[in-house]
């Protein structure tokens, strides 16, 4: 079942003419006839939740924007996809750029913004060209810019390229980066709906969220609610990677069982190996062991039930040959590299955790190091401006709790070597 990924793999979909023939930009026309508040209500009623990781209800977020645009409002599309394990936004942009642009235009209209910025990850040079060309085509045919379809609505769309920094995927880090500053997250409050980019009310949504908006506006909230669960309605792209026979993006209803995704949809684990661990939501969430993975349902609540989070639904599968310590060390290295350095717990904690992990990996760790890791990561939770710091704790802590034997094996090798 495919809603936003229907045209993945069809090169014709990139062309404005084809997109329009297939019913594209009808939702934008409909939105203009509904009025901004009704669009917000429809999206709110659909239960669409932000697909960037936090899962905040999109319509509710939009409703925080001032009802009168006394100052310029801005819509920001977060296309700075960089969570390890996530590769959905690039596919959405390069296969169906107009779907995203239409979503941006509808969202901008709903929040009374006259300018939408698509903040694209800098590394996506090829993808960004596809989007830029699509935006240009939209301008040329009057689907973007001034007086769209003669409706009197002006909405500019700009493709902005980042320059390489994971932290710019954090909403206020992205805003600073768009303003030409270091991409350091800001203290909230004030929240973006009050003081966002350029000091103006702003709303920021993920690519996948905005891609779903035209479909919801076209078909109504009940239609969208036919999939998923009561609290997590709709469909979601699951990015499956790692030791899996058929890696890829699979659009499925929320609430889909993780075991079925791995065994049936993705053709099982490579070489017929056993399952050791799964990360269901990108590198920032707790690792599941095989038993927890068997009973995990893939929606926001189902993941919390087994002690992890859905995040952006980036399912990383690890078979029984995996060196967990090495992989966790690699993830911690990533956070140490990407920490913006503003907050001490994050800057120091991630760097020290990375050093300790390395020490354990090369066989020079001690049992006390595990306690130190737990303590250091514990102090990184809830003590900083943004949640990058909080993201270091789940992989480290869950791996020590669930795969302690793997750590101890490396440590005891060292200790027995020291004894001889």
């Amino acid at each position: 079942m495919r809603v936003i990924s229907t045209h993945f793999g069809d090169p014709l979909q990139r062309r404005l003419g084809t997109y329009v023939e297939r019913g594209g930009y009808e939702a934008l026309k409909k939105a203009f006839s509904m009025g901004p508040d009704e669009v917000v209500e429809t999206v709110k009623a659909s239960g669409l939740r932000g697909r960037g990781g936090a899962g905040f209800p999109t319509g509710v977020k939009w409703s925080f924007m001032p009802k009168e645009a006394t100052k310029p409002h801005y819509l920001l599309c977060n296309a700075d996809e960089s969570e390890p394990g996530t590769f959905k936004d690039r596919e959405l942009m390069r296969w169906d750029p107009h779907q995203l642009i239409e979503g941006c235009l509808i969202a901008a209209y709903a929040i009374r913004a006259k300018h939408a910025y698509i903040y694209c990850r800098g590394e996506f040079f090829e993808t960004n060209q596809v989007v830029a060309r699509a935006v240009e085509d939209a301008y040329e045919k009057g689907y973007a810019g001034e007086d769209i379809f003669g409706s009197g609505n002006d909405i500019a769309v700009t493709v902005h390229q980042g320059a390489g920094a994971y932290i710019c995927g954090e909403e206020t880090g992205l805003m600073n980066s768009l303003e030409g500053r270091r991409g350091e997250p800001r203290v909230k409050p004030p929240f973006p709906a009050a003081v966002g980019v350029f000091g103006m009310p702003s709303t920021i949504n993920n690519v996948e969220t905005l891609a779903a908006v035209p479909h919801i506006v076209n078909n109504g909230e009940e239609w969208y609610r036919q999939w998923g669960t009561e609290s997590s309605p709709g469909t979601k792209l699951f990015c499956v990677s790692g030791h899996i026979n058929k890696p890829g993006n699979y659009e499925l209803p929320l609430g889909f069982p993780l075991s079925e995704l791995i065994d049936d949809v993705c053709g099982g684990i490579r070489n017929g190996n056993g399952l050791k661990a799964v990360i269901p939501g990108g590198s920032s969430v707790a690792i599941l062991n095989s038993e927890e993975a068997r009973r995990c349902r893939l929606d926001y609540e189902g993941c919390i039930d087994v002690g992890t989070m859905l995040g952006c639904a980036s399912v990383i599968v690890m078979d029984d040959t995996t060196d967990i310590v090495k992989q966790v060390r690699r993830m911690v290295d990533f956070y140490a590299h990407e920490s913006c350095g503003q907050c001490t717990p994050c800057r120091e904690g991630s760097a020290w955790a990375a050093q300790i992990m390395k020490r354990i990996e090369i066989g020079e760790g001690t049992v006390e190091d595990l306690d130190t890791l737990m303590e250091v990561t514990e102090q990184m939770v809830g003590t900083t401006i943004c949640v990058l710091s909080d993201s270091v704790a789940p992989p480290v802590q869950s791996s020590i709790q669930k795969f302690r034997a793997d750590y101890l094996a490396l440590i005891s090798e060292q200790e027995s070597a020291g004894a001889t």
Binding site: F8, P11, G85, V157, V159, H160, Q161, G248, S314, R330
Partner: protein
């Protein structure tokens, strides 16, 4: 550049519904032919990440690059916001962003040199020193790592005869380790200048290097 063999012409999860050529997958109709003056201002900032032939002394900015610079300025309510795209434009021309380039950009945007240096050094995509004709960035983050990225990285170092982070003697290649490139379904992903190479195995590396060597374009 074309006809690099790559083993999965499609998106990860290809259902076999479409019979796709590499050009169709990559969107060659759209990629690589952006006008030098940037076209419509909305997309004037999208540009090659790096050109193969760099000119460290190229002026900032003249001719079509000047037009692109002017168009970028129109897109934001203030000049500061143009800083990232303008630094990228400088890098596209010169191959890296030296301290002198940072100062020149500061002058163009009426920002202090210290501020521009602070911003430039925050972002990994600005090369603070000269790199080879091809900057090879191998993703070694978790999904690629599970599928053998470390071996791919070693193969690139071996075939280019370069030290990690240094440029090979012939000036052609600089190989570095990269963080997740968001192509986790196509491990290992390698970015070479502006282009992604996907599903790269150690066995593919020699062929990719040989293919790049004689060519003069990005």
């Amino acid at each position: 550049m074309s006809d690099i063999p790559f083993s999965n012409p499609g998106w990860a999860g290809n259902t076999g519904e479409f019979d796709l050529t590499e050009k169709e997958v990559r969107g060659d109709d759209f990629v690589g032919d952006r006008p030098k003056d940037g076209g419509h201002p909305s997309g004037a900032g999208t540009m090659p990440y790096m050109l193969v032939d760099k000119d460290p002394d190229a002026p900032l900015f003249e001719g079509e690059y000047r037009q692109r610079f002017e168009k970028i300025l129109t897109r934001y309510p203030d000049k500061r916001a143009a800083l990232l795209p303008v630094l990228s434009l400088a890098q596209e021309l010169r191959g890296h962003v030296s301290a002198e380039s940072m100062d020149e950009v500061a002058g163009l945007l009426e920002l202090s040199p210290a501020y521009v240096r602070g911003v430039t050094t925050f972002y990994t995509m600005y090369n603070k020193r000269a790199v080879g004709r091809y900057l090879v960035q191998v993703c070694t983050n978790i999904s690629c790592n599970l599928c053998g990225a470390d071996e791919v990285l070693q193969a690139f170092l071996r075939y280019t005869d370069a030290e990690m982070g240094e440029t090979s003697k012939d000036g052609n290649f600089t190989v570095i380790e990269a963080e997740c490139l968001a192509a986790c379904g196509f491990p290992t992903c390698v970015q070479i200048n502006s282009r992604y190479y996907e599903n790269v195995t150690p066995a593919d590396v020699a062929q990719i290097i040989e293919h790049l060597k004689p060519e003069g374009e990005s």
